[in-house]
């Protein structure tokens, strides 16, 4: 009998505590499959964020360090600089990466660290109960934007994949979504490509993933997925914004 579908080696046999319909679970799976397929499980250190994915070490069958809020790219830099044979990735939410950790992500990208960043954009702070994130859409209601995000006072969202692509050093920056099998496959391709670049010592790779947070959005899982596909995607276009991975 051939096994068509099984749990990746790179994930532990554990139940996650994510809410029904949350994107984190799918994204974990894609990263896990990637590490398996590139034969990286035994050479990887992942950096966990502060946010819903803080328990990364409960789910990944790889070495994991837990960073202070936003600092994951600095930790990843440190690890990679003293152990260049390790594959190092950070896994960060939008509050973690684009708010408190904006300095660390931009500078790690600017230095062109040979690391991979998995950036989960769910347009709010999940763990702390759905406050405005730097990625919250204009007019989106959150617990700290009760009348909707007003750009006049709250500013505009950050388009991180485009920002990273605008820097000289990064070799790959893309935005994907995980709303349906076709897009999940595309997301997987981007993630695998990003890790592959690191494996080949090509440099800094960044994958932004539009992801649902049904709990804090006050939507059913199905509604939340639809919202990712229309509202979020219309503000955050999918695509590859930079790819010089193939060039010397």
């Amino acid at each position: 009998m051939t096994v068509a579908f099984k749990k990746p080696e790179s994930l532990l046999d554990a139940k996650t505590i994510y809410c029904p319909g949350c994107g984190h679970g799918v994204i974990h799976r894609l990263v896990g499959e990637t590490l398996d397929e590139l034969d990286l499980r035994e050479k990887t250190v992942g950096v966990a964020p502060v946010g819903c994915a803080v328990l990364l070490y409960d789910y990944f069958n790889t070495d994991i360090i837990e960073a202070p809020h936003g600092r994951a790219p600095a930790l990843a830099t440190g690890i990679k600089r003293v152990k260049s044979d390790l594959t190092v990735f950070s896994y960060q939410g939008d509050g973690d990466l684009a708010s408190i950790g904006m300095g660390e992500i931009m500078h790690a990208a600017g230095r062109g660290e040979n690391i991979t960043i998995i950036f989960v954009n769910n347009a709010n702070y999940g763990m702390t109960g759905g406050q405005m994130a730097p990625t919250t859409l204009p007019e989106q209601v959150t617990t700290t934007t009760p009348k909707g995000r007003k750009t006049a006072t709250d500013g505009f969202p950050f388009k991180m994949a485009e920002l990273i692509a605008g820097l000289d050093a990064p070799v790959f920056s893309a935005r994907v979504k995980i709303t349906d099998p076709k897009n999940i496959n595309k997301a997987k391709k981007a993630i695998k490509y990003a890790f592959g670049l690191q494996k080949e010592n090509k440099g800094f790779s960044f994958v932004e993933i539009l992801s649902a947070c049904p709990t804090n959005w006050g939507k059913t899982p199905a509604e939340a997925v639809r919202w990712v596909g229309d509202a979020m995607e219309s503000y955050y276009p999918l695509g590859v914004f930079k790819d010089i991975g193939g060039e010397e």
Binding site: K43, N61, A74
Partner: protein
């Protein structure tokens, strides 16, 4: 025979760390410790070791946190406002029990203060400026040679207890040049203590973390950290003191102790009965040892380049406020030997 060379404090500290087997240096410029970062920027890459000029002290300490979690010897250096920014990372490293060495060549404060030598970060180093119940091991060298020796040794101490170590110097120590004997090159060697993150090859995955959510687990961890510090206090407390029954016993650390030494030398030559008690570890503080020393002397004079921070520890130790006098000099300024002499004279009266 080991050769004596003239070196500036900051550069000597840097070279001592290199010789101790430092694999990663992560820093951000701030006076009066800039020579360390500059020295490392050339020295580390020459030896094919890691050097990064971080974008901030916040990033620098977190680079150390990440790099040191692999079991390699790592260090950052900074001065007062920079160390203030590092407190977040230091707290995490204490919680996650990641060893590393942090050098604080202090300056005057609060705020931007000035770049003069000061001891105003004693409380920050010994009480912890970050969140949570934690303890650092804090060495306070008073000469360039001592700074070299303590820096060299601190990596092993930090690994032994899986606890960050702070070398608490000041601008005077960092900027002065003295002859030193440098220690030989050594390497940490390939040890695996069972916690380092090296990629889960042929073993279960490991994690380095400070989060402990399940009921009771943080309590247990806090008690473990407390017990660890008790052990550190028993094994690692260091001080310098020449046994005696003195009319005045001066208590001072770092640069203040060094100036006090000059003052005391002048006094002894004049036949006065005066002594010095100098904590080498200001945390753990030599409470018992000072208590014993103080009981034999008539008067205790605490001398610090601040408004009286170690004074609190001396009081805890001596438990006789009548006996204690204090001379403080804040503002990023060093004592002259005469200032200390005058104060001792008033104590002798």
């Amino acid at each position: 025979m080991a050769e004596k060379i003239l070196m500036k404090g900051n550069e000597a500290i840097a070279e001592a760390a290199v010789r101790a087997g430092l694999k990663g240096y992560f820093g951000y410029p701030i006076t009066p410790q800039n020579e360390i970062t500059a020295y490392m920027s050339a020295r580390m890459p020459d030896l094919e070791r890691a050097f990064v000029q971080a974008e901030s002290e916040v990033a620098a300490i977190n680079m150390v946190y990440g790099a040191a979690s692999t079991g390699e010897r790592c260090m950052t250096t900074s001065s007062s406002p920079g160390i203030a920014l590092m407190q977040e990372g230091i707290s995490y490293m204490c919680g996650a029990e990641v060893p590393a060495v942090i050098v604080n060549i202090t300056r005057g404060g609060p705020g931007l203060g000035n770049i003069g030598p000061s001891q105003c970060d004693y409380n920050q180093a010994t009480r912890g400026g970050g969140n949570g119940d934690y303890d650092l091991i804090v060495y306070a060298p008073h000469t360039v040679q001592e700074a070299v020796d303590l820096t060299y040794r601190s990596f092993e101490i930090s690994e032994k207890y899986r606890n960050p170590v702070i070398i608490l110097g000041d601008g005077a120590l960092g900027q002065m040049a003295e002859t030193v004997i440098l220690p030989p090159f050594k390497e940490k060697g390939k040890t695996d203590e069972g916690w380092e993150l090296t990629g889960a090859k042929s073993r279960d995955p490991r994690s380095v973390k400070s989060l402990r959510l399940a009921e009771g687990t943080l309590l247990e961890h806090n008690l473990h950290l407390e017990n660890k510090f008790k052990l550190i206090s028993r094994n690692e407390t260091e001080y310098s003191y020449e046994e005696g029954a003195y009319d005045v016993l001066v208590v001072a650390f770092g640069t203040a102790a060094r100036v006090a030494k000059t003052a005391l030398k002048n006094f002894k030559e004049k036949g006065h009965n005066v002594g010095l008690f100098r904590p080498v570890t200001v945390h753990p503080f030599p409470y018992e040892e000072l208590k014993k020393a103080a009981s034999q002397s008539k008067k205790i004079l605490v001398v610090e380049m601040n408004r009286g921070q170690m004074l609190f520890d001396v009081r805890l130790s001596v438990q006789n406020d009548e006996k204690i006098d204090f001379a403080g000099k804040p503002g990023g300024e060093t004592f002259s030997p005469e200032e200390i002499e005058n104060k001792i004279l008033s104590c002798l009266k």
